[in-house]
Symmetry: none
Subunit: 211 residues, 4 copies
DNA sequence: CATGAATGAGGATTCATTCAT
DNA sequence: GATGAATGAATCCTCATTCAT
């Protein structure tokens, strides 16, 4: 895309020590918000720096004060999106309960985040990096970190021996992620959909469930 | 700059119904093939007409002899991709067998098509139109026609009363479609994955399963 | 515009001796008609060979059988348009009558031709070549031939000595040509407008008029 | 490829009202000037953005910083041209004098503006929008505003009852505008031509004329 | 912090034209 | 006579980016 200048712009938000002037923080946050919205609707290539600048109410050149490039801006948005889902799921998970209950809460958190009409989540849900460019690798890294959460949750599940836990995880996440393709507000709530989906996978593997 | 001129001259236009444009049978087919490959890798906005023309070995303007616009070209590729999957699933489905067996074969056909490393299928798998533009509507139409196949298959299933068949269909298709995000050749075959996934749902829902 | 290949394609209509096959003549005539219409509406540069071909119902390449280039096609249309007006004015003029009556009839013929909603005339009326390219010179030649008709008509007019007959001619033609810019069907007829305009120039130069 | 960069920096945007962009006062003005010249010679469709950019000494893309589109650029030039003529005529008109004298001065102003070899005026003189596109409507609006000036001037004229003042106006403006088609520098001055033309109408219509 | 002005490459598309069939 | 297929240049315009201010 350009000649490989990635990784310099250390996330400005980590500058917690120094110059935290509100105006600056707000502008950057605003830019991220707008970028999340537009990227999630139009995709990366379909979104122009001008689109974003126009919506923020600033000149395109101004974006370059905060982000070294369009790619960097996108990665920042993606990171934030992944973080939000991680937080939602982590929070839902830490509380006590049976492994199945915790998984159900995690699934609920995951789906609620995905469907929250929050642009960050929508972005993460709709853009699945599969390419082999440097760009894609940056995104995959983020996403992989997240999906590990479910590895642990499913590891705790009481399942018949020789159950393919990996396939269970991937299938369930696939089903959950797929919901964004058909979900329409007004019908069943995200939480109820998530619970039903988990239940589809539950009974057969755990003969004691429902008794 | 281009080697030779015109070789074959079978009216390319009469080919829109079928799905066999292997290689150099004609220019239009070649263009579709190349477009499928590049679109599926780089997405719609990320692919330029120049990219495609370069790979076909013609001038960008030549593409416009066969396709009115980039959008039309994309839709043609998408349609062909959907048709291929429809064929695969229909074929797997028409044969006799119990409803669950037929669904299993359909799922296998679906997943095999998706993972065939056939660019048309990859394209359909990776691009889920969700927008509200005319463009998206053209694609959704195609896809919807396809998903109806599964409505029928699932309608035939012997299920406990009050089972949410719609949610079952959506969840299962979500899980199947999600496989493209993690499938790596060399592990379990698409057919075995599909069968395992269907079995997860079956054991859970079908009182006779496992007997 | 291109590297000076003008003058080869001798007007096919002058081929009155040889191959007058109707189909050919009709196609050529049809092409001229359509070209006249479109050129007169959209101008030379604003009209494409494809526009014309589409309307004729033939492929762009077919036009090149009859006309060596777009420029040649345009010149052919322009020539025909000038000829039509020449004919109209000549016919109106040859009949007997006083010089003023003949001028009035000529003006009427001129204006009627201009407003006839005949595309050839409209073209001539709306495109006034003023440039210095070879192209423009070809057109000017045609037009000049025509305007000479009025030189003679005005030479015959009984006018006070030292009247600037050239200015009279140019002013009157300017006024007549200007009518196309404001004429709307349904109001005064072209003939009545032409008569009124001539009358505006008549009385003052010829003190005996109206008496 | 371009000599130097930016020289002056007077906000070009605030200049839309006035009409004095002589040469290099600012880039926007320069662009208008060049566009006026080329548009007036080659017409709208016959002029490319590249033509203009090349002459200004900038990249085509730079034009888009100042003008949203080719059409907008053209309209801006056209507006400026109309404004210049309006100013010329208004100035010639406001001074006292008999109605005929004022009309004569207005005609002189009009013709002088038209023939000033000023590209803006030439453009207005040579391009008469007659179509029904939005584009044409934008231009007609401008031009109509101008021609209303003459409605008032002619309304003040002492004329025989039942004189068709509208036809008089249209005929006179047609004659004046037609002058650009035959005027050649070196002969009679624009002012003298204008006076003679008005006199033609006056002697004919004004009982007191010549006295 | 932010911008005004610019760039050069590249975007999709249309152009007039050619030529073998 | 007519066309299907192609071309290469040109069309308008948008792109991400830069940089002095």
């Amino acid at each position: 895309m350009n000649e490989g200048k990635i990784g310099v712009q250390v996330s400005a938000r980590n500058n917690t020590g120094g110059n935290r002037n509100k105006g600056q923080e707000n502008r950057r946050g605003e830019m991220l918000d707008v970028a999340a919205r537009i990227f999630s609707h139009q995709g990366y290539a379909g979104t122009s720096i001008r689109d974003i600048a126009r919506e923020v109410g600033v000149q395109p050149s101004s974006l370059y004060y905060f982000f070294k490039s369009k790619e960097d801006l996108f990665v920042a948005v993606y990171e934030k999106g992944v973080n939000e889902i991680v937080n939602a799921v982590t929070k839902a998970t830490t509380k006590a309960g049976t492994p199945w209950a915790r998984l159900e809460r995690a699934a609920t958190g995951h789906l609620e985040a995905l469907l929250a009409r929050d642009d960050y989540n929508t972005l993460v849900a709709s853009i699945v990096p599969r390419g082999s460019t440097d760009f894609d690798r940056r995104l995959v890294q983020n996403r992989d970190d997240y999906e590990k959460l479910f590895v642990d949750l499913i590891a705790d599940l009481p399942l018949p021996p020789r159950t393919d836990r990996r396939l269970l995880r991937l299938t369930m996440l696939g089903a959950l992620n797929g919901v964004v393709n058909w979900y329409r507000p007004g019908g069943a709530s995200p939480a109820s959909i998530a619970r039903k989906i988990v239940k589809m996978f539950r009974l057969q593997l755990d003969p004691d469930a429902g008794s």
